[in-house]
């Protein structure tokens, strides 16, 4: 992993891998043009997991897509691993993604794996594209499959023959083979059952500890709270609050964050009661 101080890409601890400054994204043209993200600034350091929490329409997936160069930013700056990628052309983005510095995991593992490719082929493909030899690529695929606690037997299977949890772990392994400095995860555990969710979350924690920078995007405060060091709360296209996970949950400042925390079901019942939530909802509507 590039977190190894001896590795060539290592740039010292705590240096931001992702720096987003005043990011603005618009969708639509002319009179249909509307702002989806506004003034979004966020930095993520090596060995840090930052959760981006937001509900439907908050702009959280747009944020992921902007950072991956899949949508065009109308203002602001994005730096990845020290490189200013803001004005990159399609070709430059493709080259950057091909280098594997930044990788991404989306919710639906079935759609991120080619259904007709054996798991092994899926895993080594990004390495072959980079020009790594087949033997070396296969060795790395095996190494990272073990890293996500999957058996080597799976290498010969097709994605359709795996369970949802296994598929999502294969997707994570596929992301890891290029040894990225930054991984963007958009709802990575939302489709999984309890046992698989725990496993994937633990893998993410281990990755963080090995020095990778993670952006964990989700609508589910619960799963983000479990692994994030810091949490940024997106509401109507703006980050309304960013702080240590513990602070966001125990001392939320923005009204929306308070409602969010007060609404999230926990075993000890939500942090707010019905009347408390009603009061917050009323304030949010003003």
């Amino acid at each position: 992993m590039s977190a190894d101080p001896a590795a060539p890409g290592y740039a010292g601890p705590g240096r931001p891998v992702l720096e987003v400054t005043d990011l603005e994204v618009h969708y639509g043209l002319r009179r249909r043009r509307r702002r989806v993200l506004q003034g979004v600034s966020l930095s993520v350091a090596r060995g840090e997991t930052v959760g981006v929490i937001g509900e439907t329409g908050s702009g959280k997936s747009t944020f992921a897509r902007a950072v991956l160069g899949l949508v065009h930013a109308s203002a602001g700056r994005i730096r990845i691993d020290g490189e200013d990628v803001t004005g990159y052309s399609h070709r430059q983005w493709r080259a950057l993604r091909r280098r594997g510095v930044v990788q991404y995991v989306f919710q639906d593992p079935l759609r991120s794996l080619d259904p007709d490719l054996a798991i092994e082929e899926s895993l080594i493909e990004p390495l072959l594209v980079q020009g790594v030899g087949r033997a070396e690529a296969v060795a790395r695929a095996r190494r990272y499959l073990a890293r996500v606690h999957l058996d080597e037997d799976l290498l010969r299977r097709l994605p359709g023959e795996l369970s949802g949890g296994q598929r999502q772990r294969v997707t994570v392994a596929r992301v890891l083979v290029t040894e990225p400095a930054l991984i963007i995860l958009d709802e990575p555990v939302s489709g999984l059952d309890s046992a698989n969710r725990v496993q994937v979350l633990q893998i993410l924690k281990d990755l963080r500890d090995s020095g990778v920078a993670l952006v964990f995007i989700s609508h589910d405060l619960g799963s983000v709270a479990g692994v994030a060091d810091r949490i940024a709360v997106l509401y109507e296209g703006e980050i309304v609050e960013v702080a240590a996970a513990r602070t966001v949950i125990n001392a939320p400042r923005h009204v929306y964050t308070r409602l969010l925390v007060g609404s999230a079901p926990t075993l000890r019942s939500a942090a707010a009661d019905r009347a408390g939530r009603d009061a917050l909802r009323a304030r949010l509507r003003v």
């Binding site: 309890s194 969710r197 692994v227 001392a251 007060g262 609404s263 079901p265 075993l267 939530r277």
Partner: protein, 302 residues
Amino acid sequence: MTPVPEGVPESAVLALRDVRIRDEVNDREIVHGVSFELTPGRVVGIVGESGSGKTLTCRAALGILPEHFVVSGGSIEITGHDIAGLTPARWVDLRGGTISAVFQDPASYLNPSIPVGRQIAEVSRVKKGLNRRAARHRALELLAAVRLRDPELVYGQFTFELSGGMLQRVLIAAAIAAGPKVLIADEATTALDVTVQAEILDLLADLRERTGLALVVVSHDLAVVAQVCDEVLVMRSGEVVEQGPTAQVLYQPRHEYTRLLIDEHEQYGLDRFLDAPAADAPEVDGSGDHLGAGEKELDRVR
């Protein structure tokens, strides 16, 4: 519907006794004995993952088991009447009027080409014999009762114009239109955002208190069930592995699987912070005040 009279022992509006469900094609028993009793104003929760048999159990109680599935053992009683051998006509009476349900994907239960208000009004016309005008009036009342802010506007809207949370409210309005005693909510909040989920759960709690509606809340999420239920059943592979009052299931779980569900919340969920052990939580002082500043703030808002 009438409010729950206090102090009077209530008879069960829904009672399942050792209910078993069999898949006749594959000749396999899928649900291996579910029992619970639901009295007015009470809430029973069923937790389990897909394939645990929780939805089949609900469908059996509604008399809508998929083809080839049969109740092969035990009994189901709705307001004291055994449902075995009910005629289709009797079922039509019972559904909506006595027992009703809402499911995960509200849009698929509504006709996309008819305004939602008319679809709610239709329930009152068919079930209660109201005329057009009275049915419309009743539908508007129901839309207000499920706390939709502009009932007149929503009445004339189509499904595509409404958000998931609004649609689920419309479905709940339709489900309670004929004044049922029992409402089954099967993953009814699963597809919704957290704040919207809380709105729907608050609404159900509200209906239960105001009207004595009894609820069966089915979810894959133990925390959702913990929030609203008096009694919890934990199901796995067709078996009830744990059953008891909510507090007992949460604090003295006996089955390993229940413990797994609890651990997930405590290690990876919000509970990690809300009830953190002292060593892990420097900001907690020694005064025994375990509330974080955020909760105090929320207290202030209450």
